[in-house]
């Protein structure tokens, strides 16, 4: 019985939250990696673009709520997301037309594009804060828990409860659907293949008649979809605050690089690598050992490798180690 309790404990505090957090990071990381692979620059506006998408989702959610539309047990935001995506894609294409296109056409070095993306970051951040303000917002409605800790205890008769929030399930399911659709698109369709060709070797791709304008446009559209959904899922699960989104850029970058920047599948796995290591290294294992060890051996400290204050530092340290030993990432990057 104690063993099952210990496993449920780990499931409840490590596995389920890490899986949800990892999915949110993975979507952002694929976004970074796509931009890097096709447009060839590190997009420092990632976090703020995600917060922009989330903001639009929230505005649509409020609008639908005021109309009295709801999905019952599911959050209203799910209906709002498609509308937000349309809006977000428009925003992305607008930015590309007025900002990034000039540098792409004049073949500026990637560093310059990265600097330009910092300008976009400032502007997007300002727009978000002017429209919705800097404060914390929750826009979740519907049923909060799929399984409540108490119900689980009653059902199984265990000491440990397992709580699964509906947002966690939604996050994981939506991520899986979205990512499989994306990989199908990249690997099976003609447009997807031409995107990969473009990312691999631009000149050869141009020679074989691939239209760069179309590739770039599709990249921004996919980026808009990923940014909106990734941001909205994070906001549903935790809460929406522009500053947190800006900060999330850092673990997202870490995930993209750990997975091998330019490689979407690597970025997808990188998200989980970062999420799991952050949570595994900062979790206090005291209770876990209390179940497993006999009473005489029970630990009297928290058995915590690092204090939770260093959560972010963990992912960055992993990144530094990866950069030192395998600069191209765990799953060799540079090609889509």
């Amino acid at each position: 019985m104690d063993y099952i309790n210990a496993i449920v404990l780990l499931l409840n505090y490590i596995f389920v939250p890490a899986l949800a957090y990892g999915s949110q990071l993975a979507l952002g990381a694929i976004f970074v990696t796509l931009i890097y692979g096709i447009l060839r620059f590190a997009n420092f506006a990632t976090g703020d673009m995600m917060s922009f998408g989330t903001m639009v989702t929230i505005l649509f959610t409020w609008y639908f709520q005021s109309l009295g539309i709801s999905l019952g047990i599911l959050p209203t935001a799910l209906i709002a997301i498609p509308f937000a995506i349309i809006f977000m894609v428009g925003y992305m294409l607008l930015i590309d037309k007025f900002v990034f296109k000039y540098y792409r056409v004049s073949k500026s070095p990637p560093v310059q594009l990265a600097m330009v993306s910092i300008g976009v970051m400032f502007v997007t951040q300002a727009v978000v804060r002017i429209i919705i303000g800097p404060s914390d917002r929750r826009f979740f409605d519907g049923e909060k828990f799929l399984i409540k800790a108490g119900e689980f205890k009653e059902m199984t008769g265990l000491n440990e409860g397992l709580a699964i929030k509906s947002t966690q399930v939604i996050t994981i399911v939506v991520t899986l659907i979205l990512v499989s659709a994306l990989f199908w698109f990249l690997n099976k369709t003609k447009t997807g293949k031409s995107m990969r060709a473009y990312s691999d070797n631009e000149d050869l791709a141009l020679l074989s008649g691939i239209d760069p304008k179309k590739i770039v446009m599709i990249t921004w559209i996919i980026a808009g979809v990923l940014a909106t959904i990734g941001g909205a899922l994070y906001g549903l699960d935790k809460s929406f605050k522009p500053f947190t989104y800006f900060n999330n850029m850092l673990p997202i970058f870490a995930a993209a690089i750990v997975g091998g920047i330019g490689n979407p599948f690597g970025a997808f796995l990188g998200g989980y690598v970062i999420a799991f290591s952050e949570i595994l290294l900062t979790y206090a294992y005291k209770k876990f050992f209390m179940y497993l060890l006999p009473e005489s051996l029970e630990p009297n400290t928290l058995v915590q490798l690092l204090s939770t204050d260093y959560k972010f530092a963990v992912s960055f340290s992993i990144l530094v180690i990866v950069l030192l030993y395998r600069p191209s990432g765990i799953f060799k990057g540079k090609i889509l």
């Binding site: 620059f41 590190a42 420092f44 900002v99 000039y102 070095p109 990637p110 560093v111 310059q112 990265a114 600097m115 330009v116 910092i118 300008g119 976009v120 970051m121 400032f122 502007v123 997007t124 951040q125 300002a126 727009v127 804060r129 002017i130 303000g133 800097p134 800006f246 850092l250 970058f253 870490a254 690089i257 204090s307 204050d309 260093y310 972010f312 530092a313 960055f316 340290s317 990144l319 530094v320 950069l323 030192l324 600069p327």
Partner: protein
Amino acid sequence: MRKNLNVIAAYTIMMGLIILVGIFQSWNIALSIFNLCLISAVMTMGANIQWGYAGLINFGIMGYTALGGLAAVLISVDPVQEAWSAGGSNILLSLSLIIGMVLAVRYVLKKYEKSKVRTYIIATIIIAGIIIIRFVSEPGIEAIEEVDPAKTGFLGGFGLPIIFSWIVGALFAGGLAFVIGKVALGLRADYLAIATLLISEIVIAIIKHEDWLTRGVKNVIGLKRPAPYEVNLQQTDWFINLVEKFNLSQLNLITDLTERQAALNQFVIEGSSIFVKLCYSGLFLIVVIILLILTQKALYSPWGRMMRAIRDNEEAANAMGKNVVKQHLLIFVLGSAIVGIAGAMLVTQDGLFTPGSYRPMRYTFLIWVMVIVGGSGNNFGAILGGFVVWFLWIESAPIGLYLVNLTTAGLADSHFLKAHLIESVPYFRFLMMGIGLLLIMRYRPKGILPEKIEIK
């Protein structure tokens, strides 16, 4: 003279703007803007050395600034004797263990060829070392943090004049840059940017959460000053006489003696805070001028030529026998050390150290906007960038308010749109910075004062 005309014009306009603030808002505000402009200028010079001279991207400016601030605390605060006796020995022991660990790793690196076994040995040393250090340091840290937590709860510093911290801050930042440079300088430009950004976040996390060293988010307040205190000034005779002399014409208009005394008191209070700010301005100006002379000399020296050669074509410079790796490391350390000075200056001026206030937006990205806007590779441009951007950063709120009032003049005061816009005026600064950066990058990619290399 003629070729420097644009430099002189740009600086005159900048000074004119600050003086306008002094006339229309208050001299106090103008001087505090001026002081922070000077500090920003020092930071920008540090970043400019790395980016403009050598083409290295360093997004870790926040980390070096914070280390400079830490130096100010460690130098100027009086040592907390009880904390030292409570846990000092444990901390010193852990410190020697860390040094031992580093030496052991170095020894293994030198002694054995690169192999899997070596990697495992190093990993074992580091993991075992961390566990031992945790066991040794934990009781010490707890004991230190328990010593009067409301007031101290940390080891304190050396109790020296705070001015020394400007040099120590440079050493701290340079030391960190040496380690980061050794690790990360081989990376491609954009990887380097991300890596330095993340490492600076780690530095901030440590400063924020190691309470025994920095008091963490409890902040250190009331640091010693290199300048006189306002309260003392208000009671010294020569200062009161000086203020009286300055405002004689206004004071003579008042005939009533008690009223005259009250007016004088008001002038003395205002004057004292302006005087203190002027003291800081003088100190900061000295630093800026010394750094400017040194960096200008370096720019036109053979060393500066070599750096530009490396920046413009690494392979060619390498082929000419220049040690690119070593020079990159050197310039990385130098630039970061200058940023460290600025960090110490900032804490000196504020008189308090707040680890929670170090955010990448303000201390990394804003500094980069300054470098790009001012003109990378040109020291005068870098300083100007610091001035222009900081000025706009502060003054964008009033400007934003004015614009909002202008555009929504037709709406009633209670209209929700107007109220909402007025509430969000503080965020217009981000908008202005972003649009300014984008416009400069597009239409004047070399900055307001572009790099000019004349052959002498």
